[in-house]
Subunit: 193 residues, 2 copies
DNA sequence: TCGTAATTTCAGTATTTTCTGAAATATCGG
DNA sequence: CCGATATTTCAGAAAATACTGAAATTACGA
């Protein structure tokens, strides 16, 4: 591996992190490298920097493309493929979340719906279904929320995140002003934890 | 594997899903099984249901305990350990997010801070640092937001999630009512996408 | 269409991870 | 402390995954 120390630290870290995410070490390292690079890199650049085989890089890049995580570019008069990551880190987050949703959440929701359609054949299965229903509803709530957030412009999304739970206070004000929904019993100190 | 079909489908699915999450198949299956079960199971129960070795189950349960994802209980007059998952699925989500943060995000933030303290030795390292700064700020924003959400009672959290981007409208109303912060240029149709 | 350079594929190898059975250790009631 | 039962540990086997070099394929300019 042939990298400035500061960059190497980061690249190695993301290689390890990748392992915890169903992504392999090399793919993590390639992405980290591209992320830090101020200009697009070609496969040979990556081979030299990371010290892995050309074919490994080829496979890694293919996987990153399947994840929509890299952009492929060309330089005039050079027919090699150059790769880069979006300048906007929020774009990266959006893609990551979107792809993980597509691969993990959506199939799970589909499976849950299928299984929930079936007739339970025992008390055990009936209970299992209520648990699956809970999970289904939770996933649905989260994906609906996510869909709304994904639609926001980044600036507004950040604004909202920075607001955090202060929204609560605004809601309280709204409640007091408009008194729309029923005034549910309040103040019962939660059996939180 | 010795399970009613409906339950088996779910257990197998979560076994596979587990693989994508740095958790191995058996651990995923054990958790799925416990999640669906209406009463706590002991290790031997799990061995019979999943058809894996006793030692594998022991290790799997140990891992789930390290993740705080299972509760250990005892039955009177029975000295085996019985395991279950929280009844409240939101509690499970909270724990999962908390633990993943602890293992993945926090160490990454620490590393980013360390590397950002260092003096860049070249233009390349300087650029790399600006990228790491972007990432650091993003992670910090997200973890701050997360910390606030984690503090909310579930009921309120759900309320907020269901609200989604409708919050936006309320914010707009607030803006118009109080005109507190600077009136930034508005209405330039976003170059969204 | 040919020649060259780039990329991809893939069979085999290396590495890592998971799983098992056997042995060791722990726990409990008496 | 003993005996019985439960759990954990761990070395090695099995399985899964990652990686490589060589060969095949693709892409392109001439």
């Amino acid at each position: 591996m042939n990298l400035p120390p500061l960059i190497q630290t980061f690249v190695l870290h993301f290689g390890e992190m990748g392992s915890r995410w169903g992504i392999n070490r090399t793919v993590g390292q390639i992405y980290a490298l591209l992320f830090l690079s101020s200009e697009p890199l070609n496969a040979e650049d990556i081979v030299e920097r990371l010290g892995v085989s050309r074919s490994n890089v080829s496979m890694g890049l293919k996987e990153l493309q399947a994840w929509n995580l890299v952009r492929l570019q060309h330089r005039p008069g050079d027919r090699r493929d150059y790769f880069s990551t979006p300048d906007d880190i929020w774009q990266i987050v959006r893609t990551l979340v979107e792809e993980r949703k597509k691969r993990e959440i959506d199939p799970t929701l589909t499976l849950l719906r299928e299984v929930l359609m079936q007739e339970p054949a025992s008390a055990e299965e009936r209970h299992a279904q209520t648990r699956m229903r809970d999970m289904h509803d939770l996933f649905e709530l989260l994906t609906d929320w996510y869909a709304e957030m994904q639609r926001l412009e980044t600036e507004r999304l950040v604004q909202l995140l920075k607001l955090g739970t202060k929204v609560q206070k605004i809601l309280d004000v709204k409640d007091r002003l408009f008194l729309t929904s029923g005034s549910k019993k309040r103040g019962g100190s939660g059996k939180d934890k």
